[in-house]
């Protein structure tokens, strides 16, 4: 019986990219449905009525939302190329750091990118502290998952392209090889890995998009 696997995504969403990587690493055939963030389809809204966001994975008609939850679903449904380790404590660590990546690392880097002055300085300092913790997690490992790309590499993968985009636009130094040699090396290993490297969205398009987002954010905060 042919399985129906559809991924609702946008061209740039780093969250949707996580699911793309997982599906590609496992060699799963799927159909992409490209959504426009400014004009989301009724179909997407029907499949994710609570958040109305991408990514949504549709598997045999049943929708799954939230990228990290989708990763776990994909790992439990298709057993080849395991993303999460078997040991419960190792799984807990992977989940802990993925949460840390979203809640703390992403938040602080984003704030540093869109803010100015003292607020930006504080956010940058916070981001550096968080990155230092990730740096320590990589000690003795090629990937966060060990020898192979795993769940945590995929969860943190956004660092490998978005940080460069933010640095280029803002002139900030966020993740450099001097302060974070292991992370810096990991960025390259991850970016260049087969499957991963074929999926990156266009760098130039990302630059344009985030310049606009930054301006919008600046305009919104100066008008309050």
């Amino acid at each position: 019986m042919a399985e129906e696997v559809k991924l609702f995504r946008t061209w740039s969403s780093p969250f949707a990219l996580r699911v793309v990587w997982a599906l590609q690493l496992k060699g799963i055939q799927y159909e992409t449905v490209l959504e426009d963030v400014a004009k989301k389809s009724d179909v997407l809204r029907g499949y994710n009525p609570v958040y109305k966001k991408v990514p949504v994975l549709l598997h045999n008609g049943r929708p799954i939302s939230e990228s990290l939850i989708i990763l776990e679903y994909v790992d439990e449904t298709w057993k080849q190329h395991s993303l999460l380790p078997q040991d419960p404590h190792a799984r807990a660590m992977a989940r802990f750091w993925a949460k840390f990546g979203d809640d703390k690392v992403m938040q602080s880097i984003w704030t540093a990118f869109v803010s100015e002055g003292k607020e930006q300085e504080a956010a940058l300092a916070e981001a550096s502290e968080h990155l230092q913790k990730l740096e320590e997690e990589l000690r003795g490992k090629k990937f966060f998952g060990g020898d192979n790309i795993g769940y945590l590499d995929i969860a943190l993968g956004w660092l490998a392209n978005l940080v460069r985009v933010f640095e280029e636009i803002s002139g900030l130094r966020v993740l450099d090889g001097e302060r974070f040699p292991l992370l810096f090396a990991w960025l390259k290993e991850f970016s260049d890995a087969p499957v991963i490297r074929d999926c990156w969205p266009s760098h130039d398009k990302l630059i344009t998009k985030f310049i606009a987002l930054r301006q919008l954010h600046g305009a919104q905060s100066s008008s309050t």
């Binding site: 939850i69 776990e72 449904t77 419960p88 989940r95 913790k133």
Partner: protein
């Protein structure tokens, strides 16, 4: 063999910290397993509130297999882990942390966030309550608290993520006044409406069916903590007429044997959240 000790009331000196086992030798005193350090110093006291009854802490034999939970009253993040362990029948040692004077053990076991709860199993710590819950589910497969089917599991996880995402709205409801509070009330009611319409089915006793699960434990604070917040603020959010399914779930949750034997005492919570609200309000007005 398992030793039992009775907990006593917490001293105001904040010496409610439990000693770590570590490499220290164990010995028995009055049938209880204690370290030499404990035997040689003043008894440490901590209350594990169980409403009208005193808490009993079980210390398991053999440090390496031991399960210890660092938590704090009346944290909903702490309670959900206590309930999960009890539902699984896992014996554990509970340590009540003083958040104003965090123990070395807590700081060592959760250096990233320095927060409770932390579960320490066989000497290895796990932090973040939802991560701990999944760890408990995977380490002790008896009495499953998550559905077996990957899709149903993803639905439970989705709602767990949802309520975690929205919890700050309810604390804002407690901490704020005026327009800020009006905004928090509106947002909180939207959250309740979403749960009512999308998360609960008419025919189900609990979120995933007839049996209590992780999703219920994570939503649990809506069944005991929210009521204290409502009373402190003087605004009712969860009206039975507006949210009949949610209201029924609250009754079912509170009636569950394991939950009701371990609910923070209502009046104590009122006093606690009243103090918190007053602190927040006076600090925000003095900052103006």
């Amino acid at each position: 063999m398992i030793g039992e000790i009775e907990t006593l009331s917490k001293s105001s000196g904040g010496d409610g910290r439990a000693e770590e086992g570590g490499d220290e030798q164990f010995a028995r005193q009055d049938g209880a397993l204690k370290t030499f350090k404990e035997l040689n110093k003043k008894p440490t006291h901590h209350r594990f509130g169980l409403g009208r009854t005193e808490g009993i802490v079980l210390i398991s034999w053999g440090f390496m297999e031991g399960v210890k939970l660092l938590g704090t009253w009346p944290s909903p993040f702490s309670y959900r882990v206590i309930w999960a362990l009890k539902l699984k029948g896992v014996k554990f040692e509970y340590v009540e942390e003083d958040l104003g004077n965090k123990s070395d053990e807590l700081l060592r076991c959760n250096p990233v966030h320095k927060k409770i709860p932390v579960l320490i199993h066989g000497g290895r710590p796990v932090a973040e309550s939802t991560v701990i819950l999944e760890y408990i589910e995977e380490s002790w497969p008896q009495n499953p608290l998550l559905p077996q089917d990957p899709y149903d599991k993803s639905v439970a996880r989705f709602w767990i993520r949802f309520i975690e995402d929205k919890t700050p709205v309810f604390f804002r409801f407690c901490h704020s006044t005026g327009e800020q509070q009006e905004e928090a009330i509106r947002e909180a009611k939207k959250v309740l409406k979403t749960i009512e319409e999308h998360a609960l089915r008419e025919e189900d006793k609990f979120f995933a069916g007839d049996k209590i699960g992780l999703q219920d434990l994570v939503f649990g604070w809506l069944a005991w903590l929210l009521q204290a917040l409502e009373e402190v603020v003087g605004v009712k959010l969860l009206e039975a007429s507006e949210y009949p399914r949610l209201h029924r779930w609250v009754q079912n949750f509170r009636a569950h044997d394991v939950i009701r034997s371990d609910l923070p005492e209502h009046n104590a919570m009122l006093a606690y959240f009243k103090r918190i609200r007053e602190t927040f309000i006076s600090s925000s007005t003095s900052a103006v």
